[in-house]
Symmetry: C2
Subunit: 593 residues, 2 copies
């Protein structure tokens, strides 16, 4: 037997008991004739004591233990003379009577501590050591528990978890697929699913009524810092439901998860239209933990002789509370430079400080009288001590920039409390996006998203401009500025579906080639249905007030899509390629030579 | 709103209530002025009634409803005059006041009934219709619930579910990998995991202590009837445990699943060594629901002048109870032909009938006296009315053939009760298999499987013959002749591991190239650990007394690895190949022209 107890469970009530513990050597200290070893496992740390006077051989053996050695120790639980209140096992220690080294260990390249000295590359290469750290273990345990609570809630609501296939068919639409060559069907490929979208709709046609799945999805995109080529979704679909029934169901799920995992009671989620979100926050995923909502100054700031504003389509700003005296010229200069970086691309920043005595200090003071500025102040609801920050330009671009500015000011002013959670539904997204380059519409969500009921007739009969204004019965769940989930009511009417394909520029043949099996299924009695998918990695991070999803994934890949630990991807043999009837292209072969 | 209730929940207690139901038209019947429509959803069937005298328009509309139309019906719950005791909603019907056709349907190519008239190909092509059938829905609901119970049990035991990656590294050992070309790393490939084996061991090195995952795995094998290229495992690993602690844990899981899913209390699982299983049943996955154990007649049947037996290495048989009078010469001839098919390859069959009066009738009567045969009878424990069936030849081959004969007789005699479950652990598998062709050892389980403690020294020091006799600390869970799970204690000692690689013919460089990251991890303090993986698809089928796993998979592939519904795999565009730096090989391109 390797252990009678784990390293986190012994208490004073065990005093005098003989126990066996196994684990890793966290650290050891020699103090006079005594040697103390901290023994660690997933459950905690227990102090072992060896006494040179009582057992010289044993204590000498203990003194040779290196960090991360795996040992088994037998001994008696004793009360500690100097207790450690910070540790749950801190009242006791083990007076060791026998020691077995189960495995030795090389010295780890970084410390196995909550705050490790290892950089991210190193930690990913030695992920098995990184995983020994408490924060990472806590994250993985949280994730495991979150999945359990999710499944419990949904199955209590009558949802069935159905595994959909992951070797499916490649479709050229949307993001890029990972493909898998088929040996048995030479020249043909499977694709890994970007989502189980079509399969969950098929399941509704199949009468499953309520489906969910916590499922791996794959997307071969150029990876941004916080994207992974494989990621996990909570994927759901329901039949015979209205939009609000869907939202209620998944609002219920979200509330239940926050309650069971964090003991937080979320209030009812407000619904905000896409248009309103853009007007107020310049973003379809607004962080509503704090205000600083957009103020449209266009009507009062234009036409007063300031050429930059006069020539701009849109002048808007935010009001940062209580910083007019603390934000120096240097701070403002730095902020301006931050805004002028190519990622954001502002031309400049206009500010108006409302001084404590009610006077103003502004970068555009020579163009606007105090009387004029007083109108701005009134419009923005600014008070003495506040500072207004204004941007201008094309409306859409300026909204995006001002959104970045608002979020940055939120961060700088500490308004994003990681312990506060403000969810909302963003609804009524545009159905179609017009792409100027290709001169065609794209589906904002996907080609099966239904228009809102009141837009159906306009969709069937309207002109080009009408199409741009169509609203979809689509929705996103946003928490603290992160899109946690998104979905839609689907089209189940064939006329609407065929009109939608027309609008998206699909010929009948193209629609058939790409979605033939789903369109076929729709011929045999599709029920009204709709659903949602949650980003499970992101949900974990957001619930823990963290930005990076990587620390919630056991074995993440880096931004080149590479697993640093196993060193994948890697070349395969020509024999393997021959079996798959594939060759590498010459160029690449040459590059490798 | 589409419904106030589902089609399975209305009872007499709802009489007089106005309800809304939605679902599919199962069938409709016109009887005089009345039209009856059976409305179906996942939850059941409810009868709708339309009365021509009361509402002509509505009833005319109802008469036009086709099979599988999707409708919404509003009406009042009434007591039925002729009740249907076989249906849970059979006491009531809905007196319909409003009818909306939500979607029309083409006539399905097969009937949506428990016993459908659709062949397997057709059912797979129209899987969305097949899925509407109650047996299939029941299977998927069972599967969903089995996963929930599995997760509940394991997480109650302190196991953490960790998602391991599915874009990993290809290794030439073992079965064939599916590979995934990497666009970002031209000429390089990921592999889809055949199992998370190395990752779960890494998680143990990472201190996770108890890991599980219900996970998709992939194997590019030529598919037998009941194999799928993607399949699901319950994958588990534990640290600081002995073999028996592992077996107890997963015996506990299995018992708990049978109790919660089927209300069956399984008795403690017997343990049987591989050698014993081969001697008694000629199989490492014996079906022990019935006896007919092997009897070794070699010592008493050889050397008596029957040349066929005299020249055979091994003579063995089984005793089939109570069929000596019913099994005709024709039956025996047919059975012999069945045994002579190339799949089994027997030369012939010898039988001895023990007649009711204690006399014998045998195909080898002229070689053996009644006195001799009486010895056979005694050895086999045969009684009047029984028939002994004997085969002979090389030992291993004969064991396999006799296993097939035993199973066939079990089937023919109805001894395989699908409602009876007889689990057992088969243990002490050989560690290594000697392959005559390649003149090298193969790992019977995998290269990280530990030898039994008592074999460790012999493994480090023994000769070639000793190696053949080494036993592994490996085990299979067998239920009713199906291998449900398999696993092993892993090697955590570096000397043993390096000896094992030697035996398997790996150079140090080859071991490093294939398992480098795991061997690296083992340098940093690997704990003693072991685990198991259950075939989840198979477990579902076995628990339901069924042979085919396909009916427990929502979207299975056929034996060519093809998804008949979505028609995958399929060709991809040259543009996609170019992005992946791949070309199809000429031969295949020509074949396609």
């Amino acid at each position: 037997m390797y252990r009678t107890h784990n390293c986190g469970e012994l208490r004073m009530s065990h005093e005098g008991t003989e126990v066996i513990l196994s684990g890793w050597v966290q650290k050891s200290r020699d103090l006079g004739g005594l040697t103390f070893v901290d023994l660690r496992d997933r459950y905690g740390i227990t102090q072992l004591v060896f006494n040179m006077d009582e057992n010289e051989d044993l204590t000498s053996k203990a003194r040779k233990l290196g960090r991360e050695f795996v040992i088994k120790a037998t001994g008696i639980v004793r009360e500690r003379s100097s207790k450690n209140a910070k540790r749950e096992t801190g009242d006791i220690e083990i007076d060791v009577t026998a020691l077995e080294i189960l495995n030795v260990a090389k010295t780890p390249p970084f410390t196995i501590d909550d705050d490790t000295d290892g950089g991210e590359e190193l930690r990913m290469t030695y992920r098995y050591l990184d995983l020994r750290r408490t924060p990472l273990q806590r994250n993985l345990i949280f994730r495991s528990q979150l999945a359990i609570e999710t499944r419990k809630y949904l199955s209590d609501q009558g949802f069935i978890e159905v595994e959909t296939p992951s070797l499916i068919k490649s479709t050229p639409e949307g993001a890029r697929d990972f493909v898998v060559p088929s040996r048995m069907n030479p020249g043909e490929f499977y694709a890994l699913p970007q989502s189980p979208q079509t399969f969950k709709q098929i399941l509704m046609v199949g009468g499953l009524d309520k489906y969910f799945q916590i499922v791996k999805c794959y997307r071969d995109e150029d990876l941004r810092a916080d994207r992974q080529p494989e990621f996990t979704q909570i994927d759901c679909e329901m039949s015979f439901v209205t939009r609000d029934q869907i939202l209620d169901t998944f609002e219920g799920l979200t509330k239940s998860l926050f309650k069971s995992m964090l003991d937080i009671e979320l209030e009812d989620f407000p619904k905000m239209s896409y248009d309103e979100a853009m007007e107020r926050y310049g973003s379809d995923k607004p962080d509503v933990r704090f205000g600083m909502e957009f103020v449209d100054f266009s009507s009062i700031a234009k036409g007063k002789g300031f050429p930059v504003f006069d020539s701009a389509e849109f002048v808007a700003g935010i009001c940062a509370k209580g910083i007019s005296e603390t934000y120096s010229n240097k701070d403002i200069k730095k902020l301006t430079e931050w805004l002028q970086r190519p990622q954001i691309g502002c031309k400049g920043l206009v500010y108006v400080k409302v001084n404590g005595n009610g006077t103003f200090k502004s970068s555009v003071g020579k163009f606007y009288s105090d009387e004029e500025l007083a109108k701005w102040v009134k419009l923005a609801g600014a008070e003495p001590g506040d500072m207004m920050l204004l941007l201008c330009g094309e409306k859409e671009k300026t909204q995006k920039q001002l959104n970045e500015l608002r979020l940055e000011m939120g961060r700088r002013l500490g308004l994003m409390d990681p312990k506060v959670f403000k969810p909302l539904w963003v609804i009524d997204f545009p159905l179609l996006e017009w792409d100027e380059d290709s001169e065609r519409f794209h589906a904002m969500h996907h080609p099966f998203t239904a228009p809102k009921k009141e837009d159906e007739q306009r969709m069937l009969n309207g002109d080009h401009e009408t199409m741009k204004a169509l609203r979809a019965d689509a929705y996103d769940l946003v928490i603290n500025g992160s899109e946690i989930g998104g979905g839609s009511v689907r089209i189940h009417d064939r006329d609407l579906q065929s009109k939608n394909f027309d609008l998206l520029g699909f010929t009948k043949e193209e629609a058939e080639a790409q979605f033939g099996f789903l369109l076929g299924a729709f011929e045999y009695g599709a029920p009204p249905h709709g659903g949602i998918a949650f980003g499970f990695d992101r949900l974990n991070a957001v619930m823990n007030g963290q930005n990076s999803i990587r620390d919630f994934i056991a074995f993440p890949k880096n931004t080149s899509g590479r697993d640093m630990m196993i060193d994948a991807p890697s070349p395969v043999s020509q024999a393997q390629l021959d079996e798959l009837s594939l060759n590498l292209q010459e160029k690449e072969q040459t590059d490798k030579c």
